[in-house]
């Protein structure tokens, strides 16, 4: 159940990274549409955080430990909003590059989450 969500979040994060990378390539800052995209990806990460905590509450155990699992859940939720705020402060192509890097980082976090949960 968590797996499908993890894959969806990782794919959405990579799409966001490609989209903002494209904006950076065209020398554009992040626009309203990009922020809507970031909101969607952040929402996915939030749902994942809630689902993850519910699963822990129901007594399921991540393979590599609960603490690491929760830390990664929180990290993946905070990842895109943090990059988004930085791109608000930097209204050039470099703001877009930063969000693109945020998307890649989130995708990596999702892969790690998948491993930590135990495949």
């Amino acid at each position: 159940m968590l797996d499908a969500l993890t894959v969806a979040t990782a794919v959405a994060a990579l799409v966001l990274a490609a989209w903002c990378g494209w904006a950076a390539y065209r020398d554009q800052p992040t626009k309203d549409w990009h922020f809507i995209g970031m909101a969607v990806v952040s929402l996915l990460a939030l749902v994942q955080l809630v689902v993850g905590i519910v699963q822990l509450a129901r007594g399921e155990k991540p393979e590599q430990g609960t603490t690491i699992f929760v830390a990664y859940l929180i990290g993946s939720f905070a990842c895109i909003p943090a990059a988004g705020f930085m791109s608000l402060a930097e209204r050039t192509r470099w703001g877009s590059v930063t969000v693109a890097a945020g998307g890649v980082v989130l995708a990596v976090l999702e892969v790690r989450l998948y491993d930590i949960w135990g495949g």
Partner: protein, 139 residues
């Protein structure tokens, strides 16, 4: 301490490409610090050297991030020194883990030149040094 008037025209280090650097350093701070806190508090005896090195890496990343955000010539120089130390650290520890793997019961942030972290630990200081050198002249 710097005065208020000076801080008003303090040279910015986080505009343009600096934004990306701060973001990546921020990610590394969270990664290295949280990892070492967890490992040191739960399982320090298993690999004291590796976990201590991760903690040191986290502190160095934290200082560089703070310097970049603060800006100004002093911070720029301090960050430059730390980036050089970071580069030496990642090259030294990276080589050490390859030559003498038995010294490390568990991996550190800087193991194998930061391979677990997409080689960001070795690419970041090089990029940062170029950026900080280029930022020497205000405006």
């Amino acid at each position: 301490m710097t005065g208020v008037s000076e801080s008003g025209k303090r040279q910015k280090l986080i505009s343009g490409p600096g934004t990306l650097l701060v973001w990546l350093y921020g990610v590394m701070v969270v990664g290295a610090v949280s990892r070492s806190i967890f490992q040191i508090s739960t399982d320090f005896d298993r690999a004291p050297l590796a976990y201590s090195l991760s903690a040191v890496a986290g502190v160095v990343y934290g200082f560089i991030t703070y310097s970049l955000v603060r800006g100004g010539e002093t911070a720029r120089r301090a960050a430059l020194v730390c980036c050089a130390a970071e580069l030496l650290g990642v090259l030294g520890v990276g080589t050490w883990t390859l030559v003498e793997p038995s010294a490390f019961a568990d991996s550190t942030v800087w193991s194998d030149y930061g391979m677990e972290y997409l080689f960001i630990p070795v690419l970041l200081p090089v990029t940062a040094i170029f950026w900080l050198r280029g930022a020497r002249d205000p405006e």
